[in-house]
């Protein structure tokens, strides 16, 4: 696959950006309809809960996309997907931040006592908060300058945090639902699969390296 750097920068990246922004734009549109009194807005009778779930759902979807980029590039034997990894990761952070904000502002309306109570008492919220806390340094160190400042080795080490964030997010969802629901299990399985792919590849490379040194 040969795509010129210019095409990547001028066409593919903006398109990818638009694609990942789309759910947030659609949500904003529905809020605009709701706030201007259109009864057919798509936010359901409980817009606050809907918004919170929706943003969480999309953060989860984008984390699966982010984790799928490296395996995809291995399978395709192409570097092309790697160009989109940072942007995908930043969108995970953005949707997660919106998800958390909707909880703090819309759901709890800055009731910090209640929020703190949730963080310490409700396991699924604890897990979600830990996942977000781990996303934070990744977002902060996403610029080229930060990569240079940290050095590639340390930067890569730090960004392995995403391998912990994925499962935490999967648990956050699994622990939240009522009854025996399929959807969170499917997402958890997807995340597990993407991590197992890395594990297998790492083991394969280690055996190969050993064979070479022997």
């Amino acid at each position: 696959m040969s795509v010129s750097p210019k095409t990547i920068k001028r066409v593919l990246k903006p398109a990818f950006f638009m694609l990942l922004s789309l759910p947030a734009l659609l949500l904003a549109l529905q809020w605009a309809r709701a706030l201007t009194g259109d009864p057919d807005h798509g936010l359901t009778a409980n817009p606050i809960e809907f918004t919170n779930r929706y943003l969480g759902d999309w953060a989860l979807r984008w984390i699966v996309v982010t984790l799928a980029i490296t395996p995809l590039s291995v399978i395709l034997g192409s570097n092309l997907p790697i160009h989109f990894r940072r942007m995908a990761g930043l969108f995970v952070f953005t949707y997660a931040a919106l998800h958390l904000s909707s909880y703090i502002v819309l759901d709890q309306f800055f009731d910090w006592r209640e929020i703190w109570g949730d963080i310490v008492k409700r396991n699924f919220i604890t897990v979600g908060m830990v996942a977000f806390a781990m996303l934070l340094p990744l977002a902060v160190t996403s610029t080229n300058r930060m990569i240079r400042r940290l050095g590639a080795r340390r930067w890569r080490l730090l960004h392995r945090l995403v391998y912990a964030i994925g499962p935490l997010v999967a648990f956050h969802y699994l622990m939240m639902v009522k009854g025996n629901q399929l959807e969170p299990k499917l997402w958890a399985a997807g995340i597990a699969l993407l991590l197992v792919f890395r594990l297998l590849r790492w083991m394969q490379m280690r055996t190969r390296a050993r064979a070479q040194t022997a």
Binding site: P39, T44, A45, N46, I48, E49, F50, F109, E114, G117, D118, K121, R122, N123, F124, M175, M176, V177, K178, G179, N180, Q181, L182
Partner: protein, 319 residues
């Protein structure tokens, strides 16, 4: 001699909704193409005897006393935002898919410790000439709430006619489980069929309603047609929908949510702001249509009518 004790949740005739409002509502319902039902129902039940009759769109009922004068949740929200896992776990799934459920004919099995067991039609259990309207708060275990004008009869009227024996200490109810019409049944989200239960004195409490309608019309499928329980002081999932079996039993029966997560859902499941769901606080709730959460009331605000049922019980243990 019949002495009528007016309960706190009953309003007198002068508190009835002004006619203009009723007419306005009827115009709205007409716009929804449901007005024809009113004529049909009226012709089915022409013998309504009570003086204070209000003819809604679909059902003829008396003003049975309101539980609350709080603002009612709009019809479209009551019928568009539901939990009815037999049709899917999404809040919009029931309104979308419940139309597939056949509610006519409908039969209800009455079994167990009862003098008149058998298979009954809805009309055999519910006396449609004695329908009343009750406006109740509905508090979902998920911490949201609505205010709904239900149409139905007190469950005790049904139970009294069925004649439970002295061994009947509990009543178990069961929801329809018909995979061909209920797409959610293809997944074992819960142990189908859905089951619920009440202690016999809870079932006989005057507040407990067997509903066949809301907002003056026949229950939409997503709200539990043709016949559902309404137990306003308990979390919404206790108010079992689309009932096909009523069993009078001696021992506390199992319930669907109790089987699913016994640590989270107790048999009683009374609305109680002091007993949290393990995964979220029950101290406050969001009334559908409001932004800020409001305080959840003990027994959902019906303590005066039902607190005596639990005298001496540790409600933290018996949640």
């Amino acid at each position: 001699m019949l002495i009528k004790n007016r309960k706190s949740w009953e309003l007198s005739g002068r508190d009835a909704t002004p006619q203009a409002l009723y007419q306005d509502r009827r115009t709205i319902l007409k716009g929804m193409g449901l007005a024809g039902l009113a004529g049909i129902a009226a012709s089915l039940h022409p013998l309504a005897r009570r003086a204070a009759l209000a003819v809604g769109s679909g059902l003829t009922y008396a003003d049975g006393g309101h539980g609350t004068d709080e603002e009612k949740t709009p019809y479209r929200d009551v019928t568009g935002y539901n939990n009815y896992y037999e049709f899917g776990t999404g809040k919009l799934d029931p309104a979308r898919y419940a139309g597939a459920m056949t509610t006519e004919p409908w039969s209800v099995k009455v079994e167990g410790e009862v003098e008149n067991p058998g298979t009954y039609a809805v009309e055999d259990l519910v006396d449609f000439s004695k329908l009343i309207e009750r406006v109740y708060r509905l508090r979902c275990v998920e911490a949201w709430s609505m205010v709904i004008p239900w149409i139905g009869v007190p469950l005790k009227d049904i139970i009294t006619r069925l004649g439970p024996t002295s061994r009947a200490k509990f009543v178990q109810f069961e929801t329809l489980a018909r995979p061909s019409e209920m797409r959610g049944l293809s997944r074992r989200v819960l142990d189908w069929p859905y089951k619920e239960g009440l202690r016999i004195d809870e079932a006989m409490n005057p507040l407990t309603l067997m509903a066949v309608g809301l907002y003056g019309e026949v229950l939409p499928n997503q709200n539990g047609a043709p016949m559902r329980l309404v137990v306003p002081w308990k979390y919404g999932f206790k108010s079992i929908k689309s009932i096909v079996a009523i069993r009078f039993v001696e021992k506390q029966p199992t319930t669907a949510w109790l089987r699913s997560a016994p640590r989270e859902y107790g048999f009683y499941s009374n609305v109680n702001p002091d007993v949290d769901h393990p995964r979220w606080s029950q101290r406050r709730e969001r009334r559908i249509g409001e932004f800020l959460k409001r305080k959840t009331l003990m027994f959902n605000g019906y303590a005066e009518e039902v607190a005596h049922l639990y005298a001496g019980m540790d409600l933290k243990k018996n949640f």
